[in-house]
């Protein structure tokens, strides 16, 4: 469900980490989130930059549709949701604390947990028509877990809007507010552009890049464990509640 490959060799090699569950629009499971962390940790020391992308789903380019909520239907549904939130928080921290930059190829859709992953990446490429956002409050789930990184990415005012308003925005709008750094005209151009950026970053002397990423993490507080813990706790506090049990089944009837 996570595939990795290495491109090039030596100091300028890049790593590609692919969310590979195309029949489910790369929807996340607890196991995938764990595998994602391992993939990033394994690749980072050997490459100059990493691309995080989604496998093409049928005839569409898709980054990630968020959590696979169909897994939350059984008796242990709440514990699965809890595991996904914990796994997502840990994955975002892993992306952010990886020593080399991470470039997200957010083609087509990066929704809910998929959008949260973008917050851990250093440079986000998307396409003008992609769907981006956090529609999860409609399901009784709080996207608070994303708040720690989102506010550093787009500022307090816009983070408030994105986390409270369940609207999904286009990639073009994401570019305008700073949630994406580069916006391509079509979804097919996203992965090649992300790989090109990663190669450019990997070609630069490693020590300067590693020191710069680490310093930016300190400056914006995005690896501050207190914030990550607090935001995760806010999302976890709703799991198993009456509202979530009332609203979540909508996700299963789609």
């Amino acid at each position: 469900m996570i595939s990795t490959r290495l491109e090039g060799d030596g100091d300028s090699a890049i790593g590609l980490v692919t969310l590979a569950r195309p029949d489910k629009r790369n929807a996340l499971t607890p196991e995938m989130l764990t595998a994602l962390r391992h993939a990033v940790n394994d690749l980072a020391p050997a490459v100059g930059a990493i691309v995080l992308e989604g496998e093409r789903s049928g005839d569409r380019n898709v980054f990630c549709a968020g959590f696979d909520l169909s897994l939350c239907q059984g008796n242990d549904g709440d514990s699965v949701l809890e595991a996904m939130l914990v796994g997502l928080s840990a994955a975002v921290r892993t992306l952010r604390s990886a020593e080399v930059p991470i470039v997200a190829a957010a083609a087509g859709a990066a929704v809910a947990g998929g959008c949260a992953l973008l917050g851990g990446c250093d440079i986000v490429v998307t396409d003008s028509q992609s769907k981006i956002g956090y529609p999860v409050v409609k399901l009784g789930i709080s996207p608070a877990v994303s708040a720690a990184t989102l506010r550093t990415l787009i500022g307090e005012g816009r983070a408030r809007e994105r986390l409270l308003d369940p609207a999904v925005i286009t990639g073009a709008e994401a570019g305008r507010i700073g949630l994406a750094h580069e916006v391509m005209a079509s979804s097919a151009e996203v992965a090649p552009r992300a790989a090109a950026i990663a190669r450019e970053l990997a070609a630069k002397p490693r020590a300067g890049i590693v020191a710069t990423k680490s310093w930016l993490n300190q400056l914006d507080g995005s690896i501050d464990a207190r914030w990550a813990d607090r935001t995760l706790a806010a999302s976890l506090s709703l799991v198993g509640g009456i509202e979530q049990h009332r609203l979540l089944p909508q996700a299963w009837s789609r």
């Binding site: 250093d122 440079i123 990415l153 630069k204 020590a207 300067g208 020191a211 710069t212």
Partner: protein, 249 residues
């Protein structure tokens, strides 16, 4: 007093000029020392409401004088400390500081443009932070850029390195205004100065002071720590070798 930085004060307006045009106003130890002296004069002056910083000749500031940091092991740290302290003192001036970016503003030079309260350039000026291309960490300017354009965009700009046009710097928020050509810069800056001078001096000072407090500008810790971090990266043997190769020394 050194002529590497000149200061002209006309009652409420001061013009501070980096005056090393033959080196594109690159920040040498002597130039930074001269800038510090000029800041001392400005800090002692209670009448100045607006300070305009610009570069003599066709460049604004080409950044750190990298040739000076090679060969002398103590030089990078001294240079970066002086730059860090200069940015801290510049931001702390009670007067509004306007950057008139007349040409190239690169690395530390682009950092100075960020520290100015308001910055005007022309659409073709060469700006940006190519530090990572040379294996250097732009740690002194990073806190200022994060404050100026936000952490998300600062991350892209600093990790990507390279140079950008004045127009792109305007789109990113690194400068606050842009004119189509270099010839139009002076008129736009003059109009801005005129507007700024209409403000009540106490109201403007109080506002700037508050903004410095709110965005963390008045806390020097991160900028000073950045100087140490940047010097540590320059001191690495691999960085020294790279700089020698790239600068042809």
């Amino acid at each position: 007093m050194s002529s590497l930085a000149t200061l002209h004060i006309e009652t409420r307006l001061a013009r501070l000029t980096l005056n090393r045009p033959e080196a594109c106003n690159a920040l040498s130890l002597d130039l930074l020392a001269a800038l510090h002296e000029r800041l001392g004069q400005l800090e002692a002056n209670r009448d100045v409401q607006v300070v305009v910083i610009t570069g003599a000749g066709t460049a604004f500031c080409a950044g750190m004088d990298l040739k000076q940091v090679l060969g002398d092991p103590g030089a990078p740290e001294r240079l970066l400390r002086l730059l860090a302290e200069f940015t801290i003192r510049l931001r702390a001036l009670p007067a509004v500081v306007v950057g008139a970016v007349n040409g190239a503003a690169i690395g530390g030079g682009c950092g100075i443009a960020c520290v100015c309260d308001l910055t005007v350039t022309h659409s073709d000026s060469k700006m940006g932070f190519p530090e990572v291309d040379l294996g250097i960490c732009p740690a002194v300017v990073a806190p200022w850029l994060v404050r100026k354009i936000g952490a998300g965009r600062a991350r892209q700009v600093l990790l990507s390195g390279g140079l950008i046009t004045g127009q792109r710097a305007f789109e990113l928020g690194i400068v606050t205004d842009v004119v189509p050509s270099a010839g139009e810069l002076d008129a736009r800056v003059s109009a801005l100065i005129e507007r700024l001078l209409t403000g009540g001096p106490d109201a403007v000072r109080a506002t700037k002071n508050l903004l410095n407090e709110l965005d963390g500008s008045s806390d020097p810790a991160s900028v000073l720590k950045g100087a140490d971090l940047s010097a540590a990266v320059i001191a690495l043997p691999e960085t020294q070798k790279l700089l020698r190769d790239k600068l042809g020394l």
